[in-house]
Each structure stands twice: as structure tokens, then as C-alpha cells.
């Protein structure tokens, strides 16, 4: 007889072992290590919740403090490698295999550990791709998650930073897994039930509130006039021409400058209501002026942003909020919106090669992908038309029956020709290739593939890759906006002028933009304090962003 319940009995055994350290479902932080040692088995697949924003840090510390004699060889399947503990567990042998998505601040250390062979790496994923694998071949046995509060039944309030939690719990709780949540406080009644209590097996009362990184705050005081110029070109040369209403922005200063130019420069161009109305976006503080000026109809968020909670509460017509008033974010749904329902992704990168491939990997840092490739790719499963998508599709196709045409999502790279410390952005060969060779990866970690990129915007101009008809034209279009980098200086001048005549390469003057007009005075807010004023005092910036 086949035993159809051998796996299904496992959670009961694990939960029974863990109950020894719990009062009902509730476990004090001091007993978190003992709880994990009781519940975890060697070789388990474990999701330790953490992404580019919130962290189940109390549980991360507890896991790192487990006895490697009892808990070892875990297979970590998690969005973010962000905290030191996320890598400590690989040094002690508690964990061995890793499948993940994002590793911003630990990028240097993870690269060294990969070179050193301390981590058996499965793959680096995009968020949505990793979430998808939670439901196929990377389903967690145990999930360690974070919430704001819980009642004694385990009903969980995840608060504005819901992020990955519903996805992780869905995959674990419904496939014989055990879910352990850390919460900032145990309450009589949660403000709203984000996760029903019957999916939560243990609730750990954390010693301090879970950490959230203010990753999406860009200080307007640090924006340069070059960034203002590039933002003007993007608005006039792309947003206005394609009539982009549904979009996602990356986290760089260039896109933040676009947000701050909407109520000023965008207003003067008469674009209000015609562009940038629907967003898949975290609550960027730099979007406040555009919201207050009536540009933005709605915003769905992957997560929240430190200091924005009160503002969001007072703008429920714009943001997705619960009956309790606070933001409801959801990374999986917002990534899906970014993939299928946005007509434009625009973001920055560290390196672009002559085919338009881009990467944020350098020789000694593996930053991972996060969600950018989900937004920054053309989804072949899309079927609904929009004017923007159709126009881009026509430009890409050139010939053939229009009724059988695919549209195209616009994927725009907004980069200065030289990045930080005057390192050229345009390169012959991505560092990602060298890294893949050294670490034995089968695939080089490419953030956005060249065939998904439709436009590159630099301070020198806009290259429209949709209109290029062969690889040589693409290369010259890219060289044509690469400024004084080696790549830019290697251009075929006659060919670039020909591309310019065809509107494939466009300079600021071709767009009717005078570079001397690119003044910081155009920014709707020039400082974090200006953003506070725009918000009517509702935005409460963290101390590291305040100069008052």
C-alpha cells in the first residue's frame, strides 16, 4: 500500500516537538533557538523571510545561534541575503545550499563565499521566479517570517510591509510545512488579519521590531543637473511620445528626478493626466509632489517605505489600504502587475555592453536581481493592447500583418555615461561574464537582456533600439549615446549621423531641449524637507535623511 500521508504527518511531529517551548502558539524570544532546534531537521528547505526591505531578523539571529550538530545542511530558499546572519549560517555549516534573489548589502561577502566554495549555489533568481519555484520544486519545509503583531491564535497583522509573507506562507502551510512568525508584539486583537491564524504554527515575541531598510528614499538635495537633463529627455522623448500611463520606476536618482519633474516640467508640457497615472511602485517619497499635484490615480506597492505610513493612510484613494487604514503591499502581486500590466519599466544599471545586455554585477560584488528583470522584460504572455504597447510593437516590427503583431513593453535604461568614481557604464564585455566563469555559473547574471531593452537614455541623448534593424545598427545606436567612454569614442560617426536622421539617435536639441535649462530649480522638491512640506507634514523621514 502506498502511504499517502508520510509527508503530511511530518508537520504534526515537528509542531509537537516545538510545543515544549511554547505557551499555546506563543514562544518568547529567549526560547527561539530551542524552538528552531526542535522543529528543524537536517537538510530541510528553509525560507528565512527577508528581501530588500523587511527582515525576520530575530529569527535570523536565532537560526545562526543554533547548534550545527543538531541543525545542519539546510537548503535556504529566500528572497534576500541581506543580514550578516544570512551568510553566517553557511560558515558554521547550519546551511549548505542556497537559492535566492537579492543580496544588495552582502554582495561583496557572498561573492567571496561563492569563490571560496562555502555556498552550494542553486541559482540567482528574480523575485517572481523564486516565488514560482516555491510552488514547484523549492517548496519550503519550514518558513520563518516577520509580522507586526499577532494574537494568541496566530492571526497575523503584517502591516504596511506585507511584502513576501502571503506567498511564503501559502507555499509552506499548504504543503506540509511549518510556519514560524516573529512579531513585534502579541495583542488581544490584530488591526486586520493579513494571514489567518490556522496557517501560523508558532508566534515568537521578538526582542525588538523587525528591521526595515529605507531603500526607496532618494534625497532631492543630492540630485544633479545631469540627472535633471536626463529626466527631461525621458519625459519629453519617451513618456510624452508613447503616452505612458502605466509604469514602474527603478530606485535610482534619475527616475526620482523624473518623479520630481512631473508637476513642473511635465505640467508645462501639458502632460498631466496623459502620462504616469497608474503605478506599480513602492511609496517613493519623491512621488509625493506628483500625487499632491493630482497626477497620480493609483499606486500598488511591493512593500512600504520607512516614514511613509501616515501619508499613505491619508491618501486611500491613491494607495491600496485595508479597512484598518494602513497600506497593504504584496510583492508577488505587484511584480505581476509590473510584468503584465505596465507599459514601461525604466531603471538604471552599472554596465551595458554593445548588444544592450546590462548587469549590476561587478567582479567582486554579486548584487542579485531582485525584481527588476520581471519589470524590465517584455512578457510574451501579454494579450491586452494599449496605445503605448501597440506603438512600440509597430516600431519593432516594421513589416507584416498588423493584426498578427505583438506589442512591446518599453524597457528603458537611464544611465550616465560614467557612473560612480568615473567608471564607464558602457563596456565591451560585462564583468558578469568573468564572475560566472570564476564561480562556475552556467549563466552569466544578466539583469536585463539586450533584446528586452527598447531605449537607452544618457546625458548625450536617447537611443531607440526598437527602430534598429540589425546588430550593427544596435551597436552604433548604443555607441552613439555612450559619450566619451571608450565605447562612445569608438563610434562610426557617419553611421550615427544616419541613425540620427532616422530618429534612432536623438540629441537634446532634436527633442527641443536646451541643456542649460536643466536646472535644479525645476525639481518640485529640492530637499527632504520640501517633501515633508508637500505632504502636509504627513511624511516622517528617518533621521538619516533629515538635515534639520
Amino acid at each position: 500500500m502506498t502511504d499517502w500521508r508520510s509527508e503530511a504527518r511530518l508537520p504534526d511531529e515537528r509542531i509537537a516537538a516545538g510545543r515544549a517551548y511554547a505557551d499555546g502558539k506563543v514562544v518568547p524570544a529567549t526560547r527561539a533557538v530551542a524552538l528552531l532546534e526542535a522543529v528543524l531537521r537536517p537538510g530541510d528547505r528553509v525560507c528565512l523571510e527577508g528581501d530588500n526591505q523587511k527582515q525576520a531578523d530575530c529569527l535570523a539571529r536565532a537560526l545562526a545561534a543554533c547548534d550545527p550538530g543538531k541543525v545542519h545542511d539546510l537548503h535556504m530558499v529566500q528572497s534576500g541575503i541581506v543580514l550578516p546572519e544570512h551568510l553566517d549560517v553557511f560558515e558554521t555549516g547550519i546551511a549548505r545550499r542556497l537559492d535566492y534573489s537579492y543580496s544588495g548589502p552582502q554582495g561583496g561577502r557572498i561573492a567571496r563565499m561563492l569563490y571560496g566554495g562555502q555556498i552550494a549555489l542553486g541559482a540567482v533568481h528574480t523575485y517572481l521566479e523564486l516565488f514560482a519555484r516555491y510552488f514547484m520544486d523549492l517548496t519550503p519545509n519550514v518558513a520563518l517570517i516577520a509580522g507586526v503583531s499577532a494574537d494568541r491564535e496566530g492571526n497575523l497583522y503584517t502591516g504596511p510591509n506585507t511584502e513576501d509573507t502571503p506567498t511564503v506562507v501559502e507555499a509552506t502551510a499548504f504543503k506540509n510545512g511549518v510556519v514560524i512568525a516573529q512579531v513585534n508584539e502579541i495583542v488581544e486583537r490584530v488591526p486586520r488579519v493579513d494571514i489567518p491564524g490556522d496557517r501560523i504554527d508558532f508566534v515568537v515575541a521578538a526582542d525588538k521590531p523587525f528591521y526595515v531598510e529605507p531603500l526607496f528614499t532618494r534625497d532631492p538635495a543630492a540630485m544633479t543637473e545631469t540627472q535633471v537633463l536626463m529626466a527631461m529627455m525621458a519625459i519629453k522623448g519617451i513618456y510624452a511620445e508613447y503616452g505612458i500611463r502605466r509604469l514602474n520606476h527603478g530606485i535610482g536618482f534619475g527616475t526620482a528626478a523624473i518623479e520630481l519633474l512631473l508637476p513642473t516640467y511635465g505640467e508645462r508640457l501639458g502632460l498631466k493626466g496623459r502620462i504616469a497615472t497608474h503605478w506599480a511602485l513602492n511609496p517613493h517619497p519623491t512621488l509625493i509632489p506628483a500625487i499632491e499635484a493630482g497626477w497620480v490615480q493609483q499606486v500598488h506597492c511591493f512593500g512600504s517605505e520607512v516614514g511613509m505610513d501616515r501619508y499613505i493612510r491619508e491618501r486611500p484613494d491613491v494607495f491600496f489600504t485595508g479597512r484598518d487604514g494602513s497600506l497593504r503591499s504584496n510583492r508577488a502581486f505587484c511584480q505581476t502587475a509590473g510584468l503584465y500590466a505596465c507599459d514601461l519599466f525604466i531603471g538604471s544599471t552599472l554596465q551595458i555592453d554593445l548588444a544592450g545586455h546590462s548587469s549590476t554585477v561587478t567582479r567582486d560584488r554579486v548584487a542579485g536581481f531582485g525584481g527588476a528583470p520581471n519589470m524590465g522584460s517584455d512578457p510574451h504572455g501579454r494579450r491586452h493592447p494599449s496605445d503605448t504597447w501597440m506603438k512600440a510593437g509597430h516600431e519593432a516590427q516594421g513589416v507584416g500583418d498588423p493584426m498578427l503583431m505583438r506589442g512591446r513593453k518599453l524597457v528603458v535604461q537611464l544611465v550616465e555615461t560614467f557612473g560612480d568614481k568615473l567608471v564607464p557604464t558602457f563596456v565591451e564585455r560585462l564583468d558578469a561574464l568573468e564572475l560566472a566563469r570564476k564561480t562556475g555559473l552556467e549563466l552569466a547574471p544578466v539583469m536585463i537582456y539586450g533584446d528586452d531593452v527598447t531605449h537607452i537614455v544618457t546625458e548625450e541623448g536617447i537611443a531607440n533600439l526598437l527602430l534598429c534593424r540589425d546588430a550593427d545598427e544596435r551597436e552604433q545606436a548604443i555607441r552613439g549615446v555612450a559619450g566619451y567612454t571608450e565605447i562612445g569614442r569608438g563610434r562610426d560617426r557617419a553611421k550615427v549621423e544616419e541613425l540620427r536622421a532616422r530618429g534612432i539617435v536623438r540629441r537634446p536639441e532634436d527633442l527641443g531641449i536646451e541643456p542649460l535649462d536643466a536646472d535644479r530649480a525645476l525639481l518640485a522638491a529640492k530637499s527632504i524637507k520640501d517633501l515633508v512640506h508637500w505632504s502636509g507634514g504627513l511624511y516622517e523621514p528617518p533621521a538619516k535623511f533629515r538635515n534639520w
Binding site: 538635495a221 527641443g512 536646451e514 535649462d517 515633508v532 507634514g537 538619516k544 533629515r546
Partner: protein, 309 residues
């Protein structure tokens, strides 16, 4: 593109924090009255920076000249914080000292120093340090001769290092919220004493310790200006009118003021404790206060008003 794309139409509405040194001087002075000494066309540049393969500025990061302020003749020096953080090098310092010495003969109604500096330029440390000392001596001589020296502080770089020392030698100081006055900068303190002593990335801490509001409340600065050229102009005119005499009585009063200050607040761990002890009702609300309500708070604080300096 239409002409008024860039700045607003009224130059005096310009943000002091955002403006360049030349924009500040041009908008501060009576229209058309500023005449620059050793302008960029003279190309008096640093002789040292090429040794370090560093770019130079034609004015070495400082604008000096004469102008009129509400009809009165003044001499003006303005540091350009965007060039090497407004730091003092040999030529930069010599231009300021030359201006201060010229004032002894020209006897203007005042000398205005528009600080925007991180201190001495590391690449020209000896010349820079000498310039700080010579500038302080020149200010003392000038004040003794009856010419007030007014410092205006509201630029991105603040008035740090030797700039903070020179500011301390001035007759009167005006500061805006964004302006900072100190000697050792936040990063220097953190490097020497640790992040527990002073976390340089906690910008709110930096500003409530060194920023304009704190300096005004403890009497380190004598006027608080909104972040516009117009507000700094009004503050400068006001301060010229009430510059203290530079005599033994003033110096003794200053010594007494500083001794009383350290006795009263020396054990405080945070600026908010000082404000509370001064009788500010809601110290935590001070950083977010508007200029108008902050002015009201200042009016009620005794330490903010004194004749010393």
C-alpha cells in the same frame, strides 16, 4: 524652450542653500553694484593642486569684491562650496586676507563673509592653516578699527574647521536652518571617538548639534534667516546696525557668557536637553518648526540674546 524654464524671476527669492557663490553675491548686493577683485578671468589658481592631479578653479573657490548694500559700501567674500567643499588653500586664503586688509584702508560700512567651507584643503594644509590664523588676526584688527565683520552661513558645506574658527572671530553671524557651524565635522568625530559617541550618518543628530537652529538658540549665531537671499540680506543689514564694540568689556562679557554656558549645559548629552533646560516647551518639536514659530521660540530664550562676542 521658453526662457523662464530655469530659476524664478526674483533673484532674491533664490534658495541660499542651492545658489552658487556668485549667485549669492549678485542677488545679495544692490543690483549691479558688485565689482569683483581678481575675477576668474585673472586665473589666479592654486599652484599646488596640479601636483595631486586635481582640477583647479579659475577663482580658487572664492569670490571677493566690493558692492553696495542698501546704498552702503561693503566688501564681500563668498566661498564656493561646490569647489573642493569651499576649502581654504593658499590663493583662496590670500584673497580673503587681502580683502580684510584692504578694508582697514577703505573703511567700508561692513565686511560680509559668506561662509561655505569644510575647512582647510588637505593638499595645501600649511598654507591653509596659516591663512586661517592670518584671517582671524585681520578680523580682530578690523573690528578694533571699528569695521563690523558679518558672517552669513547657509551653504551646503557649512562653516567647518578653520571656517568655524573664523566665524567665531566675526562681529555677528546669521545662519539658516541648513547652515552648520562647528570645528570638527561629524565624520571626524565619529572616526576619532566612535559611532556611539557621534553617529555621523544620523543627520538629524548632526543638525541638532551643529545646525542653524541650535546655534541660534544658544547664542552662537545672532540672527536666524529663512533659506532665501532676501532673508540673508535683511539679516545682514540688521546685524551691521547692531555690531558690538570690540573692546575689553565685550571680550570679558563673551568670556563670562561662555563660562556660564559650559557650567549650565556641560553635562547635557543631546541638544534637546539643552533646549529643555533653556525653557523651550517642546524641545522635540524644534527641528520641524517653521521659521516664524522658531523666531517666537528664540524670542523667549534668554541665552539667544546677548551683547557679547
Amino acid at each position: 524652450m521658453a526662457a523662464p524654464m530655469a530659476a524664478g524671476t526674483d533673484p532674491r527669492a533664490l534658495s541660499w542653500y542651492e545658489a552658487t557663490a556668485r549667485q549669492r553675491v549678485a542677488a545679495l548686493a544692490d543690483p549691479g553694484t558688485f565689482h569683483e577683485f581678481l575675477p576668474p578671468t585673472e586665473r589666479r589658481m592654486s599652484p599646488h593642486l596640479p601636483l595631486f592631479d586635481l582640477p583647479r578653479a579659475f577663482d580658487d573657490g572664492i569670490v571677493v569684491g566690493r558692492a553696495r548694500l542698501d546704498g552702503k559700501p561693503v566688501l564681500v567674500a563668498a566661498q564656493e562650496g561646490r569647489f573642493m567643499g569651499g576649502a581654504f588653500g593658499e590663493v583662496h586664503g590670500a584673497k580673503l586676507i587681502g580683502l580684510l586688509r584692504a578694508a582697514r584702508d577703505l573703511r567700508p560700512a561692513a565686511v560680509l563673509i559668506l561662509f561655505d567651507t569644510g575647512g582647510v584643503r588637505l593638499q595645501e594644509a600649511n598654507a591653509g592653516e596659516t591663512a586661517i590664523a592670518e584671517a582671524m588676526r585681520a578680523i580682530a584688527e578690523l573690528r578694533a578699527a571699528g569695521v563690523p565683520v558679518i558672517g552669513l552661513i547657509g551653504g551646503r558645506a557649512g562653516a567647518y574647521g578653520g571656517g568655524g574658527l573664523i566665524a567665531g572671530a566675526c562681529s555677528r553671524l546669521a545662519v539658516s536652518e541648513g547652515g552648520r557651524i562647528s570645528v570638527s565635522g561629524p565624520e571626524v568625530i565619529e572616526t576619532n571617538q566612535g559611532a556611539e559617541e557621534f553617529d555621523s550618518r544620523d543627520r538629524a543628530l548632526v543638525w541638532r548639534t551643529m545646525g542653524g537652529k541650535h546655534r541660534r538658540l544658544i547664542g552662537g549665531a545672532d540672527a536666524f534667516a529663512a533659506d532665501t537671499v532676501a532673508a540673508f540680506r535683511a539679516a545682514a543689514l540688521d546685524l551691521i546696525g547692531r555690531a558690538p564694540a570690540f573692546d575689553l568689556a565685550t571680550l570679558e562679557a563673551e568670556q563670562a557668557r561662555l563660562e556660564a554656558r559650559i557650567a549650565r549645559f556641560g553635562d547635557c548629552r543631546d541638544a534637546t536637553e539643552i533646549w529643555a533646560r533653556m525653557g523651550v516647551n517642546d524641545p522635540d518639536a524644534v527641528p520641524a518648526m517653521t521659521t516664524a514659530s522658531f523666531d517666537e521660540t528664540v524670542a523667549r530664550v534668554a541665552e539667544a540674546h546677548h551683547d557679547a562676542r
